[in-house]
């Protein structure tokens, strides 16, 4: 029997009972559709998070105090105060460190901010003039923190747009007005351009003050929360990381790398971590969708078993007329594969439409990977074989006389 005949005969049988065929493939449609939609959603989320991290600054390395593995005994080695402004200056001036072009020492702490009647709780970042190029921050009006502000500990502040709308209302111009932080009054000299982002990535809900002002005037500290470094290019990230790492180890007189009282992470490290997290999330969602695919497959098996029972006489007749076992198996397998495969095609179409709609709704990228569509087809055909096998074999092993007698 030719393939074309097998397929056309299978299609013929399936179109005889359209409602049942439709209901049978519905499970597969939903399964394949949700796998495609969820994988697409996961990939879009991953891409948008990566872009947001990328937007925090290109070629960024961050030095943070404390060991990589914090907690336990290790916390004692330097703790949270091991980085100082002198470290940052030394890095900037060191002739050994050739792959770094900007050094931005930073001190940040959350604090309550008040002005007139309104108040908010936000991140206060003590920054130098190098903060802006390293983190790709620009001001929409006024000026950013200057070297002179840092040198003379001026009481000025640059506000993120989120803080402006929280304190003064949407679209207000706060330049020239004042805010109070830790009992000190600061003059607002600038507002930054919105960088978007949300949660820990929100670069709009920040108040920038001169580093020295933050350390000495506002919070009374002589250490840094972090030092951000801008490498000269993407290609020298690893070299830059090593140069700075060994320089700081020497400076802190630590000979054992595992005892380091600081850690250096690159932008890529963060992206990798986040990608791994969102990847796990995507796999989890796809796993749930795959379960619905499994349930759909069991539905197909159920329908095929009903079909075999209903068509017992027909099977008996075909065997009486000379159909061998293999022919009967092929016929019923073909039917279940046609069922699941067409379910897969329809599901893929629905999945793509759903991902498109979702990407519009949450304003994310619309990503459909060809591999997920290919996988959907392969998986749906495989389900047809897997769940059609038992019913098809049951049909093939019917004894012709029993089958012909069946009422």
């Amino acid at each position: 029997m030719e393939l074309r005949e097998i397929i056309s005969e299978g299609l013929g049988t399936l179109t005889l009972n359209k409602t049942r065929t439709g209901l049978a493939i519905l499970g597969i449609v939903i399964g394949i559709g949700s796998v495609i939609a969820l994988v697409s959603l996961g990939q879009a989320t991953q891409k948008s998070i990566q872009e947001q991290i990328q937007s925090l600054g290109a070629n960024l390395l961050t030095i943070q105090p404390g060991a990589v593995n914090e907690g336990g005994v290790r916390g004692a080695a330097g703790g949270r105060t091991s980085l100082t402004l002198e470290d940052a200056k030394a890095i900037a001036l060191s002739p050994e460190i050739t792959d770094i072009q900007n050094v931005s020492p930073e001190f940040s702490r959350r604090a309550q901010v008040t002005t007139g009647g309104s108040n908010t709780n936000t991140q206060i970042v003590g920054a130098t003039s190098e903060y802006a190029p390293v983190h790709e921050i620009a001001v929409s009006s006024g000026t950013f923190i200057s070297q002179r502000d840092v040198d003379s500990m001026t009481k000025v502040a640059v506000l993120g747009p989120q803080v402006v709308s929280d304190l003064f209302g949407e679209g207000a111009n706060p330049i020239g007005k004042t805010i109070r932080v830790s009992g000190k009054t600061l003059n607002i000299v600038g507002v930054t351009v919105s960088k978007g982002g949300s949660g820990f990535l929100n670069r709009d809900d920040i108040i920038y003050v001169p580093l020295t002002t933050a350390q000495k005037v506002l919070f009374g500290a002589d250490y840094l929360s972090s030092i951000a470094l801008e490498a000269k290019s993407q290609n020298v990230m690893t070299e830059a990381q090593n140069q700075v790492g060994y320089f700081l180890l020497a400076r802190h007189k630590i000979s054992d790398v595992t005892q380091a009282d600081f850690s250096i992470t690159s932008q890529q490290d963060i992206i990798n971590t986040v990608s791994a997290t969102t990847g796990t999330f995507t796999s989890l969602l796809s796993g749930i969708a795959a379960i619905s695919l499994l349930v759909g497959g069991i539905g197909i098996m159920n329908i095929m078993l009903v079909t075999v029972t209903e068509r017992t006489r027909e099977i008996g007749l075909r065997k009486a007329l000379g159909a061998k076992k293999r022919v009967i198996t092929t016929q019923f397998l073909a039917e279940s594969i046609i069922l699941t495969f067409s379910g897969g095609v329809i599901g893929a179409v629905f999945g793509i439409i759903a991902s498109y709609v979702i990407s519009r709704l949450i304003n994310s990228a619309f990503i459909i990977s060809p591999s997920s569509i290919l996988l959907a087809f392969v998986v749906s055909a495989a389900i047809g074989i897997l769940f059609g096998w038992y019913p098809a074999n049951k049909a093939a092993n019917l004894q012709p006389i029993e089958a012909l007698r069946y009422e």
Binding site: M1, E2, E5, L16, R313, E314, L317, R318, K319, A320, L321, G322, A323, K324, K325, R326, V327, Q399, P400, I401, L404
Partner: protein
């Protein structure tokens, strides 16, 4: 004419076993059918005629005994080999017609040719030829539920003939058909037999059995009476008279 018999049944026995009960459906049956014979197998229900029919039709295997169909030993074959034997050597005509529902008569006649691996172009031509032979050339594109019982049985006969089988096995072929149409069906069988086809027919109606040249009566799984043996006996007694 070929003098080898089409069917040789030697000591065929079929025993059905359940946990507590052993039923002998066919009990040591031996007979031969020559090429061109028209045999009716008669008997009351429970006489074992259906079981015998299944064994002759290679649909079932005997518990013991030997069955040779057109020079092939059938009783030891596997399921797939039996399917092949049924396809090439036996044309079935069933009481309930057993056409594929919602399928055209043409496709019904084509079906056994698909299993025989006959090329596509040849199939339709042959199917049309045999539908014409049973007088249904104008019903080729009707589905089986759009035609009468008599017509359905004629389609079934066309389907049985299309691979030129060694024997035609008819199981109560007129059982589900109005008597006027039954006569038409029997006329077709008569004509086929005249053309040289070997026909074995199961029936419980004696007026249908009358169309056959030879009648085998079964009772309790045994051959109770075989009209050909009468003739042989008559022939033998004639011989003895001559002597």
């Amino acid at each position: 004419m070929d003098n080898k018999p089409i069917i040789q049944a030697k000591h065929l026995t079929k025993i059905y076993k359940t946990d507590t009960l052993e039923t002998v459906a066919v009990d040591d049956v031996s007979f031969r059918v020559e090429k061109g014979e028209f045999v009716a197998i008669m008997g009351p229900s429970g006489s074992g005629k259906s079981t015998l029919m299944h064994i002759l039709g290679a649909l079932d295997k005997p518990t013991s005994g030997e069955y040779i169909l057109d020079e092939e030993k059938v009783e030891k074959l596997t399921d797939d080999e039996l399917a092949d034997i049924r396809n090439r050597k036996i044309g079935f005509v069933f009481q309930a017609f057993n056409l594929l529902p919602r399928t055209t008569t043409l496709k019904n006649v084509i079906l056994p040719m698909i299993y025989a691996g006959i090329p596509r172009e040849e199939r339709e031509e042959r199917a049309k030829k045999f539908l014409k032979m049973v007088g249904l050339e104008d019903r080729m594109n009707h589905t089986s539920n759009q035609i009468s019982g008599g017509q359905q049985q004629r389609v079934a006969i066309a389907r049985a003939l299309v691979l030129n089988p060694s024997i035609i096995l008819a199981d109560e072929p007129t059982g589900n058909i109005a008597s006027a149409q039954a006569e038409e069906i029997m006329a077709i069988f008569q004509k086929l037999n005249d053309e040289g086809h070997t026909i074995i027919m199961i029936t419980h109606e004696s007026d249908i059995a009358e169309h056959a040249k030879r009648v085998i009566h079964l009772k309790d799984g045994k051959i109770f009476d075989d009209s050909s043996q009468h003739q042989q006996r008559i022939a033998k007694s004639k011989d003895s008279l001559v002597i």
